[in-house]
């Protein structure tokens, strides 16, 4: 491996570690985002109070709650950067933007994964979802692949919206249409894993393929496009 590649990896790990340390010290995810996601799940139950419906639509609700919570996490991730001009400082220091993208995306993925695990557990408890062992494995694979896609695309668009006026309102407008394939694929794969509506576990794997295409595409594009998108 060349020395620049090692250097980039070092930057990515340093950025990811910094973001996760900030999160660990501030506990925003645990104290604010996770309760927000939980209350969204409870509100879904109020809105769809009907025997059987909740269990059938549980996979979609898990992913909707994930997307809404993700918006909060991304905004938090970039408020940290733009508040003291940290991103500008890194840029001026000549740090590779692709490496920063990878680092921030990894930190976002870790946080999202924790959040999704909590949401699936909430669905199992609140909505009475029952899973087989094979379904459980499929659910874990779905979570991992979908999280990689969401983390990379979220970091890409989060970087664009950071440092701009009115970014709080701009991010959902930009991001939610893009993540529609993840919502569709992850919901169908999770349905198969949960066995909602009589689906079987094997029906979920093609949808995981769709999620994989999305994840690979946006990881690659994000590394290239993040630099130009973030302000000069």
């Amino acid at each position: 491996m060349s020395s620049t590649a090692i250097k980039k990896r070092g930057i990515a790990i340093a950025v990811a570690r910094k973001d996760l340390t900030i999160e660990w010290n501030s506990r925003i995810l645990v104290n604010q985002v996770a309760p927000f996601a939980a209350i969204v799940m409870v509100l879904f139950a109020f809105a769809l109070d009907n025997d059987g419906i909740l269990q059938r639509v549980a996979p979609g609700l898990v992913w909707l709650a994930t997307l809404f919570s993700m918006l909060v996490v991304i905004q938090r991730s970039f408020t940290v950067e733009s508040a003291d001009g940290a991103l500008d400082a890194l840029r001026v220091a000549g740090v590779d933007m692709g490496a920063i993208f990878v680092g921030k995306a990894i930190a976002l993925m870790v946080q999202l994964f924790v959040l999704e695990l909590l949401l699936v557990a909430t669905a199992v408890v609140l909505y009475g979802v029952e899973m087989t062992m094979a379904g459980f494995c499929e659910a874990i694979v779905t979570l991992v692949v979908a999280t990689v896609g969401l983390g990379s695309v979220g970091t890409l668009y989060g970087g664009l919206a950071a440092g701009a006026r009115g970014r709080e309102t701009l991010l959902p407008l930009l991001l939610l249409p893009v993540v529609a394939p993840v919502l569709i694929g992850a919901t169908r794969a999770t349905e198969a894993a949960f066995g909602s509506g009589g689906t079987t576990v094997s029906e979920g794997w093609p949808w995981i393929g769709l999620l994989l295409v999305f994840a690979v595409l946006f990881c690659a594009v994000g590394t290239v496009a993040f630099g130009p998108l973030v302000d000069e």
Binding site: L156, L160, A164, R165, G166, L170, L173, L174, L176, P177, V178, A180, P181, I184, G185, L210, V213, F214, L217, V221, A225, P228, L229, D231, E232
Partner: protein, 244 residues
Amino acid sequence: MARQSGTGTSATRRLGILVILMLAGLALCGLWFSAEDVVQGSTVRIMYIHVPSIWTAYIAFGLTAVCSAVYLSGKNRSLAWDRFAGAAGEIGVLFVAVSLVTGSMWGRLTWGTYWVWDARLTSTAFLFITYVGYLAVRQLGGTHRQRARRSSVLALLAILEIPLVHFSVTLWRSLHQEASVANPNAKVALDGLMLFSLFLGLVAFTLLFVWLVLHRQRAMMLEDAFSDRGLDLAITARRNEAGA
């Protein structure tokens, strides 16, 4: 130098007159001369606006992508490309909106409902929202170069994203009527005048698009020049203040 008012030139004025004549011809052919459809009755007349408007929107978004790519790849990075991309994006959003509205009117008369969750409808709605987002990013502020760079990258991302959204929505569900005229396997024979009206619509809307883009990008050039001038004036005023 002759004083020029507005954004028109003699060429765009001629083009504008041609577009008005063609649109008048389209209205006559579509509403008056062409026959009713055997199955759909008069509702088929919506097609003469619906199909050309979505066609124009596709041309517009294609132009946005091409101009964005040229802007990013060009050595001198001329802002003219960015203005063309932005102008085409704005007009594309307008035409997608027209096709969504006319489409749902047609759907109400034919299917009995304004909206169905069909693949093509849903991905067209996503197309609309995506470019509304693109226009919002253009309004973010900053320098013209920042705007150009951000929005060009975003336009290229949209080109990546749209097929993926379309593909996944198609997997999700599909019941839209297959393309009738452009489909070589379809045995749909349109009446001669109906076909003529449809193609007249396509040409008229395409020329209308060209006319609108030319004017809009000139208006954008004036807006950019105006904001630059405002900045220059502000700097001069501050200098004078400091000197006084």
